[in-house]
Every structure is written in structure tokens, then in C-alpha cells.
């Protein structure tokens, strides 16, 4: 049972790695759903000893946003504009894997040793979260499609939640609800913004968005 958080974090981490190499747009969204489910399960597991109605409501709200609302908007975006996630990356496939390996190695190296003090009892979870965070950041750096970058940012948010859980920095339900509300707003705004961008430029590949048009 004590291995459960690590398994859940491992699932989230693996989805992030897979998003890096996935080529199909729907698959990336599905991977994000799996990743979010793992993080929410982790959140529920960490709150198992002090279950309250507010906490359950909070977890349900987070689940609603991450498992239904965000994927809904993403899928709608793909369906409406018949767009595909740009599968283009700045680095080639093998190079992407090499950088990922380096990031994972770096995350477990002595460089991040100072961080171990914030989670003395959950170092594996912490380092998995750090690796997830950096891999998610790398999605934003390496992928050329704006939709991929959006998924990258959402994955970063999931990684930060994992890191906070590992370090025992859970916040009050009210604050978590606030964060979830922020996320909801962000997804809505990003959806509208990307729709407008697609309408204007006919593409969501950021390399094509170099020059603003009237």
C-alpha cells in the first residue's frame, strides 16, 4: 500500500514521457487524462486520513476540471478546426529521447540534493515529481504545436501538485479550489485564444506565428 503513491506518480511521469513522443493528437489528450487521473488519485490517497465533505468536494471539482472540462475543450478544439497536434519537434526523435534521459538523470543527481530536505520521507516521490516537472517543461520547449504546449503547461501544473504532495505542502481546500478555478479559467481563455489564432493564421504551429497580421 505504501508503494501506491510512487506507482501513481510513476504513471503520471510515464504519461508525460509518452506525450513527448506521441504523434496523434487524440492520444496526447488521452494521455493527459490518464496523467490527471493519477494525480487526482494521489491527492485522494494523501487525504485519506482526514476526509471531510469539503475535501471530497474539492477533489471532485479538480477531477471535473482536469478529467472532463479540459479534455472537452481540447477535443472540441481539434474537432472544430480539424486541426492536428503538430507533431513537429525542434529536436529529432532520438535526440528528444536523449535529452529526456539526461533530464531524468539530472533530476536524480546531487544537483537537487538540497531539495531532499523538504521531503525526507518521500524522496523517490519528490524526485519523480521533479523529473515530471522538467519533462513537462521540455514539452513546452521542444514541441512546435501550440496545443502541445498547452498540454505541457497543464502537465507542469500536475507535476507541481505532485511535488507539493511529496513535500507535504497540501493547502487548504479553499485554496485548492481557487487554484482549480484558475485552471478552469485558463483552459477557457486558452481555448478561445487558440481558436482565434487558428482562425487568423490557419495553423497552430508556433513557427508559423512569427508575424502578426491585421
Amino acid at each position: 500500500m505504501t508503494e501506491l503513491p510512487i506507482i501513481l506518480a510513476g504513471i503520471a511521469f510515464m504519461t508525460i514521457v509518452l506525450i513527448q513522443i506521441a504523434r496523434k493528437s487524440m492520444l496526447v489528450v488521452e494521455l493527459f487524462v490518464v496523467q490527471s487521473a493519477a494525480v487526482i488519485a494521489l491527492l485522494a490517497w494523501s487525504s485519506r486520513d482526514h476526509v471531510t465533505l469539503t475535501l471530497v468536494a474539492t477533489i471532485l471539482a479538480i477531477a471535473a476540471v482536469k478529467l472532463f472540462v479540459a479534455p472537452f475543450f481540447l477535443k472540441r478544439l481539434i474537432a472544430t478546426h480539424a486541426s492536428r497536434f503538430s507533431s513537429n519537434t525542434y529536436l529529432s526523435g532520438p535526440n528528444t529521447l536523449i535529452v529526456l534521459a539526461l533530464i531524468i538523470a539530472l533530476s536524480s543527481s546531487y544537483l537537487f540534493k538540497p531539495l531532499a530536505v523538504i521531503a525526507p520521507g518521500a524522496q523517490t516521490l519528490l524526485f519523480l515529481s521533479i523529473a515530471s516537472l522538467f519533462c513537462a517543461l521540455f514539452i513546452v520547449i521542444n514541441r512546435q504545436g501550440a496545443l502541445s504546449q498547452m498540454i505541457g503547461i497543464l502537465s507542469m501544473e500536475n507535476s507541481i501538485v505532485m511535488m507539493a504532495l511529496a513535500a507535504g505542502l497540501e493547502q487548504s481546500p479553499a485554496l485548492q479550489l481557487g487554484i482549480t478555478f484558475d485552471l478552469l479559467l485558463w483552459v477557457c481563455v486558452a481555448y478561445i485564444f487558440l481558436s482565434l489564432l487558428y482562425r487568423q493564421f490557419g495553423s497552430l504551429d508556433v513557427t508559423q506565428l512569427r508575424r502578426l497580421k491585421d
Binding site: Y90, L111, F138, V140, I141, N142, V206
Partner: protein, 689 residues
Amino acid sequence: MTALISSADFVCTLALFALGAIGSLIAMKSDRISGAIGTTAALLGSALALMIGSGVLISHTPIAVQFNSTLPLLSFSFGIDALSAFFVTIIALIATIASLYAFGYIKHFTPAYRLGRLGFFYNLFIASMLLVVTAQNVVAFLIAWEVMSLTSYFLVIYEYREQTNIKAGTRYFIMMHVSFAFIVLAMLLLYRATGVLDFANMAPALLTLPAQAGASPLMLGTILLSAFVGFGIKAGIIPLHIWLPDAHPAAPSHVSALMSGVMIKTGIYMMVRIFFIIMPTPPLWFGLTVLAIAIISSILGVLYALSEHDIKRLLAYHSIENIGIILLGIGSALIFLSLGLPTLAQVALIAGLFHTLNHAIFKALLFLSAGSVVSQTHTRDMEHYGGLIKYMPVTAVSFLVGAMAISALPPLNGFVSEWLTFQSLFAGIIHGNSMTLSIAFTLAIGGLALTSGLAAACFVKAFGVIFLARPRSPEVTHAHEMPLSSQLSMLILAALTLIVAIKSSFIAHTLASVTTTFGAFSNTVPSFSSQPFTIVLNTGSIISMAMIALVLILAVLLALWIVSLLGGRRRVEVGATWDCGTPLTPRMEITAFGFAHSIITVMRGIMRPTRQSSVEYQDANIRYFPAEHSVHFFTHDFATTHLYRPLDRALARASQIIGRIQNGSVNAYVLYMFLTLLALFVVISLGII
């Protein structure tokens, strides 16, 4: 007096300034009303502040004002302790007189410029200076400091249609924010070293915390240097002075008087607070650094002033010179403290503080006099003046008194503080325990002596060229005295130069009581013995300005008596001057350039003058009979040519290179953040910070 002054008075002072600022804006459409509101509020507010400052100085009862908030960083505390009271008194004194001057002076800006805008920024400027010297915690201080910089910037560009003013303002704005960066660095490091934001708690925290807790010698050295650079830019020390000769002349003259007379002293105030109250155990190298900068500032300041023919720039360069003299006192005090000689340190610090007061008075007087001249002649170029004493006698006398005071001539106030500074420097030679110190103090004495001599020469030039001989432009012949309020303010300042000198013993003792409140001097043997009208130092030196004044008056009376005795009742005949048959014209008079030329030539190794000659001939083909021969003589500020221009070029090159990373790709920007994050982790892992 104690019962009369309370924190409510201080709040009333601030309210008056707020009223003046807002009232000026509201009445913006009428220059007459907005000018009256702005100036009256500034006058009343400053006068009340003068009462508060002098009251605290005399009663030795500090007052405190707290503006609380639920957020700790937004809780501001202000208070007037002994040091603050001294600076509040100086600021309020000069602001009161400058505001009185403004009643008659500001009218000439209309209708070209709105007086409502001037009143708004003028009131905020004075209020912010008072808040700077009364702020008791870091956040309040930084906010007040920034407001002071911004309001003074808007006053510098008040006459915004002049491109030179905009350029001066931009330079001032940039330098003030470089200064602010260093000040914030010093404050953050102080906070890190002490863990407190209140100035009053910093000194005890530094004494009790072990070095490992954050206050390592390296950190303390960095704090001292950062503070010196940050506040030194505001004070105008060389080579950080480049904003000052442009910004002070650009502002309206009563604002110039405040900027040059008191605003730059806020830098001195914070240096004293940090170096003597918060960190009272300075290292020897730091004292020597301050002394070296002081020597350079005083000598180069007066040399550049000599080469100027713009009256307000000349005065601005003299501010740099006088900041150098003030720092000679402060630097000596730091050296004496590091040598464990607090009594001598106290004398040196009193010399510096005394000169701070004196410079505020005579520099304000000179700027107000210069403002009167400029407002009548509509030019700052001294080569276009001449003979103004006939048209503006009160201004001429006021300028002469200011010139004598700044040249440290007895019996005026400049002499006393320079005498005290000399005493400190001589004591340094006697008590300095190494060859380095002896050389440093000897150089400082030589520098101060040279500075005093050159300042006298410069003001002989200035007074002679502006007020004596014949008018060199038609504007001079149309000049007349300023309104009564402006004349009165100049005469009050002129009288103060004499009163302060005669009451120098009282002032020195007041300053001694101010410095005794500093931790460094709390257990010091008194450096003065109490004598009315006489300063008696423990080193054995004595000076009585009252006696000197009396002797001078008697000498003048004696000379007059001897002249009348020897001359009898000779008849005076007025006739035409013998002119060799050539009509006398203003072209025959010595010019500002002509006067300074020989001195600049002697100092050409330092000043690097350049000369351009041009000749126009009656007939360009024959080139035998010249029609006009002109010589242009330039001196370049070495800091501009050797420091700022190369720095500017290097920055431009670096910006071009750095500009390449701004490629418009979001991915690249995220990559930079990622790499920065990694770099920070590397730095932390290696234990660098």
C-alpha cells in the same frame, strides 16, 4: 518646547504639503491661484517642519509617527531622532526661504508653463525629502527616496520645451535609478545580515549576531560599498556626478537651490546613518576610500567649475566640490573610528555635518542670486552679463556674501567648517600610525587648501564677470531687482552666513550632542569644551568667529580712519578714463574664459582642454586682413570621456549580442527559464550562495 512639539505636528506638516500639492492641481487653470496655493502651503509646511526639527534638536526629545497596516511590509514608521532633526532643520530652513523666494520668482514662468504642475511637484518634493530623513524602516525609506527622485525629475524637466532640460532629466532619471539599485542592494544585504527592517534595530542586531549568521566581513564590506555608491550618486561624488551639472541648472532656480543645497545632502544623511549608527565599526580601507574620493571630488569639482561660463553649471560643480569637503570630514571620521580614536572621529564628523549646514545656506543663497540674474537676463551664459551691480545691487551684495562664504573667507560660515576640517586632517597626520595614513592626510590637507584657493579664484571670476565692469549685452541694461519677497529671502540667507559663523560654538556643541547619540560616540570624551562664541577643541585649537568678525570690523574702521587721516578732505573729480584714444567697450573687459584660461592651462594635465580657432577674412582670396577671429575653448569631464562613453559603447555592443537571444520563439524563452533554473540549482548545490 518638548510639550509644544508632538508627532501630530509632523502629520500636520505632511498634510500641509499634501494640501499644497493637491490644491495646486485643482486650481491648475488659474496660474495665479495655483501658484499662490503651492507656494503658501510649501512655505507654511516648511516653517512648521523647521520648528519641529529645531525643537527636537534643542529639547533632545525624539518624536515618532507610525502608520500601521495589517501587512507588515506596509507598516511605515517615521521618527525624528537627533540626526534626523538636524537634517529636517536644514531641509526645512532652506525650503522655507526658497518658498519665500518663489513668491516673486515663479511668475516669470507664466504663461509658457503651468504653475499648478510646479506647485504639485514642489510640495511633494519637499515632503519626500523630509520623509527620507525621518523614515525609520527600510520600506518607508525606499518609497520616500523614490518619490523624492521622481518629483525632482519632474521639476528638472519643468521647462519641458527646452531639449537640454529633457536630456538633463533623462540622464538624471537613469543615474537615480542606478543609485536606487545600489541602495536596494545595500538595504537587502543589511536585512540579510540583521534580519530586521527597522534602522533602530539594525545596529544591536549586527553587534549580537555572530559572523556566521550572515554578517561576514565580505558582506559588511559589500554593504558599505553599495551604500557609498548608491548614496554617492545622489550626493554627486566624482566619478558618479555626471547627472548633477546638467540637472541642477535645468530646474527652476528655487528648486536648484533645494536640489543643490539640501537634496544631495540626503545622500550624506544616509551615509552618516549607515556608517556611524548602523555599522559603527568601519574597516580602515573603507575610510581611506572615502577620503580618496573626497579629495578627487573637491579638487576636480572646483576645477570644472572654474572652466564653466554657465552660471548655474558653475554653481553645480561647486556642489560637487563641497560634497568632497563634507566627505573629507566623514572619511577622516571613519579612519579615526577604525583606529580607535572616537574623540577625533567625532570632531571630524562634526566638521562634515557643520559643512553640510553651511553649504546648504551659501549654496541656496548663490542659486537664488543666480536665479534672479538669469530671470532678468534670460541667459545663463556669464559672458553676456557684466555691470549688473548697478541694476541689481541687492542681488549683487547677496551673491558677494555667498561667494565669500563658499570661498571660506572669515568671518562667514564656510570658514568655520573648513577650519574644523583642517583641524581633523592635521590630527590625522599626528595620530596616523602608518606612512599610508600620513600620506593620505597630507594629500587631503593639500587638496583642501588647493580647493579653497581655487574656489576663491572661481568666485572672483564669477562676481567680477557678472556684476562688475560694463554690460556685455542689451538684456543687462533692462535688468532690475526681483520682487521684495525674493530680495528678502536672499538677504535672510546672507545674514545667516554671518549668524551661523558667529554662533558656530553653539552649533558645534549642538552637533556634538547629535553625534553623542550615535553608538560609536556614546562613551566618547567630549571633543569640545564649553565656551560662548569660541570653539575650543580638546586638541588645543581655539577659534572665535565673533572675535574674528570684531577684529575685521575694527580693521576696516581703522583703515578708513587712516585713509581719512592721510587723505584729508581731498576733492574728488570725475572724468573720462584715459583710453589711448580708443573708445572703451565691453569687448575690452576680461571674460570668464579669459580669467580661467591661465589656471586651466596650469592644470591642463588633469583637465585636458581642447581649443578650436577660426578666422574669417575681409577677402577670402587675399586672406590678409582678418574680419573676425574666434577661439573656442572646451574642457571635457574626464568621467564622461573616460568612463561613461566607453561604458556606453560596451553596453551597446553587449546589447547587440544579447539581443540575439530575443528571437521571438516562445520555446526559446521557456528554454532560457529552464536553463536559469538549472544554473540556480548548480549554484546552490556548489554552495556559492
